[in-house]
């Protein structure tokens, strides 16, 4: 048999099976199950309701209070406290509060808690991010996660895989974010429904890790179960030459401009040059998609020595405490503050309309986040455009959607 990398990882976690075929149900062992301050409270309640006394493995659970933290109100504070109490009760050391915390999908790879070949599940849809490291990882609900904390297993239907092949050479200001927006624009928000998205080709081979993380992060935005990139180097974990794919899509991206997803779907994608008359009231650079150090570096490159417009607010949110430290060390925070940006402590914050930058009626934002659904960042009468950090930074200077070349 020839297998895809996804099938190989699923098989290695299902000792009862000698082979696995797409569509088949499996009861797979997990290496890590995570939840956050929104999803963990429901999971903890289900765990307790089931009468469970012990978690299956205290080292294979991660709890990250990142969505509404630093707590935006007393109810959010109570939810976050549930995580800390549960962690204490079950001696779970991978529980993170403000100061050590980061946006979960930036934090866990940074801490080395996910590794190539692992099977990771999380009560957060962007759990698919870790595919960049050759992990099979997928988002689920709180009850699934509660069940996995008890049994160490999850039920999965082995997915078919769509193979994406990227050829050519990325243009100067384009990145992994643009590749994935381009792809979602092509296949639509349910174009990969229930399927694994395998990203391959010469462009991926040369792509840096932060860009790979941004790509796999948004697999869910095409309805995908997971996104995956075969690990580089000496690891032999990769798809067999004759593995079966449900579809193979090829893109030549040599002429691709930075991409922008327009309201109110991530698939509503246009090249940035077609959107230069869109005025913005707010710019957000951060999130589990684009809050990593290389994202901040590219934003700083655009903003250095410049002032952001006074007609918009610009908030920059390093995704983890370590990224914040690194950004201070490299002088990036200095560049941001001098250019008139606000720099926030790590949080998911505005991405989901939590806090730290909520939009008013009629306002428009450009953000490096992952979703632009109606009302996602605040008012149901607001508008969100999604881009890479260079485009967001250029837009912050111009007060309208701008190509970094204009700066």
């Amino acid at each position: 048999m020839n297998y895809t990398i996804t099938e190989k990882i699923l098989m290695s976690h299902t000792p009862e099976k000698k082979e696995i075929h797409p569509g088949e149900f499996i009861w797979a062992k997990i290496d890590l199950a995570l939840a956050n301050d929104i999803t963990a409270p429901l999971a903890i309640e289900e765990f307790k309701k089931a009468g469970a006394k012990k978690v299956f493995d205290k080292n294979k659970i991660a709890l990250v209070a990142d969505h509404f933290t630093p707590a935006k109100d007393s109810r959010s504070a109570n939810q976050a406290k549930m995580l800390f109490d549960f962690a204490k009760e079950h001696s779970i050391k991978n529980c993170f509060d403000v100061g050590r915390m980061g946006v979960e999908h930036a934090l866990l790879p940074e801490l080395g808690l996910v590794a190539p070949g692992d099977l990771v599940v999380g009560a957060d849809s962007h759990t698919c991010t870790y595919g960049a490291l050759g992990v099979f990882s997928t988002g689920m609900g709180s009850t699934d996660i509660a069940a996995s904390w008890i049994t160490g297993r999850v039920w999965l239907r082995a997915p078919q895989t769509i193979k994406f092949v990227y050829k050519g050479k990325l243009t100067k200001w384009a990145s992994g974010k643009d590749l994935i927006l381009h792809t979602i624009g092509d296949i639509g928000v349910d174009g990969a429904l229930y399927k694994a998205m395998e990203f391959t080709g010469p462009v991926i081979d040369k792509l840096d890790m932060d860009s790979r993380l941004a790509m796999c992060n948004m697999a869910i935005e095409a309805g995908g179960k997971s996104g995956i990139i075969a690990p580089d180097g000496i690891s032999k974990l990769k798809s067999d030459k004759n593995a079966e794919y449900s579809e193979i899509k090829e893109y030549d991206i040599s002429k691709m401009e930075p991409q922008v997803a327009c309201p109110h779907l991530p698939s509503n994608v246009k090249p940035v040059s077609q959107l230069k008359n869109i005025k913005v009231d707010q710019v957000i650079i951060g999130s589990c998609t684009n809050g990593r150090i290389s994202d901040l570096r590219v934003a700083a490159k655009v903003l250095k020595g410049k002032k952001v417009t006074s007609s918009a607010r610009t908030v920059i949110i390093p995704a983890t405490q370590n990224i914040m430290k690194q950004a201070i060390k490299e002088g990036l925070v200095d560049i941001f503050v001098k250019s008139g940006c606000a720099v926030s402590t790590p949080s998911c914050g505005p991405c989901l309309g939590g806090h730290c930058g909520i939009l008013a009626d009629g306002e428009t934002a450009i953000a490096t986040t992952n979703r632009n659904f109606l009302g996602r960042m605040g008012s149901p009468k607001s508008f969100v455009y999604l881009s890479n950090p260079a485009v967001a930074a250029a837009s912050a200077i111009k007060g309208r959607i701008a190509h970094p070349e204009e700066i």
């Binding site: 149900f25 929104i38 999803t39 409270p41 429901l42 309640e45 289900e46 309701k49 089931a50 969505h67 509404f68 109100d73 109810r75 959010s76 939810q79 999380g122 009560a123 957060d124 849809s125 759990t127 988002g139 689920m140 609900g141 709180s142 009850t143 699934d144 509660a146 069940a147 008890i150 049994t151 039920w155 239907r157 928000v189 349910d190 429904l193 229930y194 869910i220 309805g223 179960k225 779907l265 989901l352 309309g353 939590g354 979703r371 659904f373 109606l374 009302g375 996602r376 149901p380």
Partner: protein, 162 residues
């Protein structure tokens, strides 16, 4: 078991932010979440729903965030089941796991808001009383049917562990 109710019709790609906005995710209480169900796209929805009513939608219902609060709020609003042309995967498994009945049929477009529906939970048959039509829904795959029969994932796990 037969579910009876009036249809409330929605379009394609209804996401979990539409179903329950993130600002309300500071509780796990079904009634409180139910009162805010669909607020962003249909502000009067929760007030209009009568117990047992049915949501009918197009493709990719429940896309976006993994928040289980979405199916919980639908149940909390008094909705008895959801019928759609297709479901996003996390919403699909969340619904099965928490015991919210869901039915996939490519004839969902045929149903209009206000239509009286009767859904046979076991046979997966949907009767449109208003239009005098019958639709067949996709059967659950064997493994999922086990979870549905058990009454949700936690009950299934308990059985499996015994």
């Amino acid at each position: 078991m037969i579910l009876k109710g009036r249809a409330h019709k929605f379009g394609n790609d209804i996401n979990t932010d539409d179903i329950i906005a993130a600002k309300y995710l500071v509780t796990t209480d079904p009634a409180e979440l139910g009162a805010k169900c669909m607020e962003t796209i249909a502000p009067d929805f929760a007030a209009k729903v009568k117990k047992g009513d049915i949501i009918v939608a197009g493709n990719n219902f429940g896309c976006g965030s993994s928040r289980e609060h979405a199916p919980v709020s639908i149940k909390g609003a008094g909705i008895s089941c959801v019928i759609a042309k297709s479901f996003a995967r996390i919403f699909y498994r969340n619904s099965i796991n928490i015991g919210l009945p869901i039915f996939e049929t490519n004839q969902a477009d045929d149903i209009k808001t206000g239509d009286e529906l009767e859904v046979d939970l076991v046979q997966g048959e949907i009767k449109n009383i208003t239009q005098n039509k019958i639709y067949k829904s996709e059967a659950f795959a064997g493994f999922m049917q086990e979870i549905v029969n058990a009454g949700g994932l936690m009950k299934w796990i308990r059985r499996k562990r015994v």
